[in-house]
Symmetry: none
Subunit: 197 residues, 4 copies
């Protein structure tokens, strides 16, 4: 594949990302993609032969973006206080929880429900684990510096990640108010850090 083909592929991925964010995974047809990209049906098939294969590349691109973010955060680990980092992390999570429109998360959930198990392992778990590891790092450091008071940062991180994931799905299936999210995040923090409200 030449350079040109690569940039064309990237173009398709970018456009498709918007489509999946707007419509989820199941409702997206090849026609939707074709129209969003303003290319021909046959043209799309030169690069992707199903919405699934395209979505996998969309996910991969998202993974890279997420990985970049983590790297940025990790670099900041030593120039900011753990509390600052934690607040930043939770703020990001809150944003993701409440960002109901134009978020890929519904597409991701939908895809996870139908896709082959082995693919889930590769492309999916990673995202969740990466965030978990970042949180764990923050907690560990806070524990070391004495900012946080927790017995087992690893288990705490897991617990928090599950609760955050729970809020995310609740937001998308039954709605959740910003106030409730704040309350819950605050509750979690109080378990291991002094919070001035």
């Amino acid at each position: 594949m030449g350079e040109k083909a690569i940039s064309k592929k990237q173009y398709i991925i970018d456009k498709a990302t918007e489509v999946f964010a707007a419509k989820g995974f199941r409702d997206v047809t090849m026609k939707d993609i074709v129209e969003a990209c303003e290319i021909s049906r046959g043209g799309l098939y030169l690069y992707y032969d199903s919405t699934e294969s395209l979505f996998l590349d969309v996910l991969k691109a998202q993974d890279e973006i997420a990985a970049d973010r983590s790297k940025n955060l990790i670099e900041r680990l030593h120039v900011a206080s753990s509390t600052e980092l934690l607040l930043w992390f939770l703020k990001e999570q809150k944003k993701e929880i409440l960002k109901r429109q134009n978020s890929l998360s519904v597409a991701v959930y939908e895809y996870a429900f139908v896709c082959r198990q082995d693919i889930k392992k590769n492309s999916f778990k990673e995202n969740f684990d990466t965030a978990g590891k970042v949180l764990e790092m923050i907690l560990n450091r806070g524990y070391e510096t004495g900012e946080f008071e927790c017995e087992d940062p690893s288990e705490l991180a897991a617990n928090m990640m599950y609760a955050i994931e729970g809020m995310k799905i609740c937001a998308r299936t039954m709605g959740i108010s910003e106030k409730k999210v704040d309350k819950e995040l605050l509750y979690m923090m109080k378990q291991f850090v002094e919070v001035e409200e």
Copy 2:
């Protein structure tokens, strides 16, 4: 609608429940239902004119089952220790988290992603809230009897419910081991009750 029609409807609901549990919501066609029920296409349309209307009745039937369970539990509130009840509750949740095949939960998630907002409110939130209230009741009682040591049973219940929901969705999207579930449930309990492992 006569008695016969009601039992036929119940028959369809039962068969459909299996289908939805096996295939989720989006993949189920009227044809699937027809075949599962071994009736004619037109015959099904006498009772339901879409998979959605049928699914709503399936949910309603599930709600009733869940309501019965809660009632049973509440009746036991005063004959069992709070710790016993809590263990029972978490065992049930664990079962639901790990029951990956033949569970309606994926169908419910999928449906929640596409359905009209007002229906979510009615038929969906309820399920989550009911479980939350049961847990809150148990925690409250444990707090009163001194079995549990928690400051705010209500917020604790919310936190636990979100984490449980998070595990549920993780189990369905990326897999989760029984060991991990046990670990997480144990972690949650340790926060407010002495546990002998």
Copy 3:
């Protein structure tokens, strides 16, 4: 068929007449009839096994009504002036031309387009011919009494009937104003009788 059955049949015909008048012929289903009659599907089939056979009986009933009307008119032939009778006749026709809602005429047209040729002959032409004969009678008598000035009452009657039929179909396909109908009817009359406007 017993007396009871006859009256039941008449009941069905009456209800069906309303349905055909409201929906034309093609759009009427056995279900429509069943609902209008508030009887069971099977019950209807005891009497009629298609909308066509039912419609034929509806037409027959209409024919009888029309025949009665003609008889009444013919009896009046000698007690009213021809001009009076002509005016009455045209007034009736005008009513029929403009009565766009709840008229059987669309159903009749629709049926005529699809039905077997031999049936048309029997049940259909009659209606048109009966009206033509009545008009001819009136014209003849007016000619005899010197009220009308026409060379060939028979041909005049045919001409008028065609023009009236033309207005009827135009009213149903493209609309026609009452003013236009009046103008046209007046034009026809002026050809053979003095009209004071």
Copy 4:
């Protein structure tokens, strides 16, 4: 739409015209069209998404043909006698009245019964009015040249058009003999022009 698509569309219109002429409007299904065109179901939907939209294009094509004919006639207005033109006009009408098979007129009637009022106005009335105007032109000119003896060419034209329309519908609903048509047309002419039989 490229040139190719236009000619394909024209091809479909041509085949569909035959189908509508043979079966009327209501009985025609997308399947009928597909089979007549020998294309795939999906292929037809590329061009038309209902028998109605297709029929409207069929009508449009017919309108153009009719418009061409009128233009030809009008050009002949000054090179032929009005009597000649009138005879030509009536001959055309007679042809249309008696052409019972493979005529679109039944489809047009049927369509008019079910279509939205505003469409009738546009595509339907026109046909009738165009013919009426042509007739009026002929009559007017015959009046001016002294060939015809009529007081009000406009009203005469209207009267004749209604009678012709009446014959057309009678031909399709109850049958009409050629002899009768001739007799009626002759009768109409005699009212304003000397006819040698």
